[in-house]
Symmetry: C2
Subunit: 203 residues, 2 copies
């Protein structure tokens, strides 16, 4: 037995370990790319991964958890959290990496799938919320380091800060359709930092 | 002949005037509510409004312009731009009115239609962008008055300020799924005001 793995999909420990996990998550991403969320089944994921479907259900209670875990790990790999030694650089770099991802073919596919099917498949809205919470959890140390260095008020809320950073980028992507580029990222970082320094992002 | 009407749908002047315009826009909203954007046709709108379809085409070049105009006027009526004498009250009030609309049955229907069909019907993305530009244009005087009163830096960009105000509300509505209420609106207004006062929303 190995220890319970950490992750938003709440999977349980089983034998064989990380290799099964990696194979199943890779199969999930491949199924998503082929047929989208609505067409994805645990059976097809298991077949593609070369494992029995009970092996999948032992770790993930449903396809939503499977998709959240697969996308969370993919996005975490695509958008690593920067640690450059000062909050201004870190926020700008995080915003730039997010913009790079959101405008890449992979990122666009994830965003389109997470939005277009959401009305028909309500669990997608839940998955989207859980993915965002996973991103917040991973970004929290960036804010904690800034507070430790005395760059931000001690009670700065990481969720509010990261939300303020990405909100104007999502606004362009999802609502206004205006171009999203490095300047968008830098402007978003300026606004988030100014609001945090002014104490408008306290808990 | 009456003067050319102002509006994002670029309609041309015709006889009979505002009554035809109001009837056609009301019919457009009714058709939207019944069948959504994808099913809407100029023919059905004309029939419902009791006018010939050439009358519609004389004022609106396509169904996208018709839908943008109809929704722009509806939203403008539902979310009037406040003018309370100080920018803090105005921004908070505007954010609260936007939240009230976005969480009402009518607002939710508009947002769902504007997003869910967008992947299948590309012109919806364009309509969404034009609707947002119409909102910005209507909100510009709020920012101009604040600058005149010396409450904000003279080169504050109205589009950036209003974008910063609504972005975190859209983030909750479209991405995180967290509740959207008066507190969300007030927090959004605090952040937008702090960023503007710090000069982070200059042109």
């Amino acid at each position: 037995m190995e220890p319970e793995l950490d992750g938003p999909g709440r999977q349980r420990p089983v034998g064989r370990g990380p290799k099964v996990r990696a194979a199943v998550l890779a199969a999930t991403l491949a199924e998503l790319a082929d047929g989208g969320y609505a067409a994805l089944t645990v059976e097809n994921v298991a077949r593609r991964a070369g494992v029995h479907k009970t092996t999948v259900y032992r770790r993930w209670r449903d396809r939503e958890s499977l998709v959240v875990d697969a996308l969370a790990e993919q996005i975490a790999a695509d958008i690593p959290i920067p640690d450059e030694g000062d909050v201004e650089t870190d926020l700008r770099e995080l915003a730039r990496r997010f913009v790079g991802w959101a405008t890449s073919p992979g990122g666009r596919a994830v965003l389109a799938a997470m939005l277009s099917d959401a009305v028909r498949v309500p669990e997608i809205a839940d998955a989207r919320g859980r993915l965002f919470q996973d991103r917040l959890r991973r970004a929290e140390p960036l804010v904690a380091r800034a507070v430790e260095r005395g760059e931000l008020p001690a009670d700065t809320d990481p969720a509010r800060l990261i939300g303020t950073l990405v909100a104007p980028i999502y606004l362009r992507l999802l609502i206004t359709g205006e171009p999203v580029d490095e300047a968008t990222a830098d402007q978003a970082a300026r606004v988030a930092l100014a609001a945090a320094r002014a104490g408008a992002l306290r808990r």
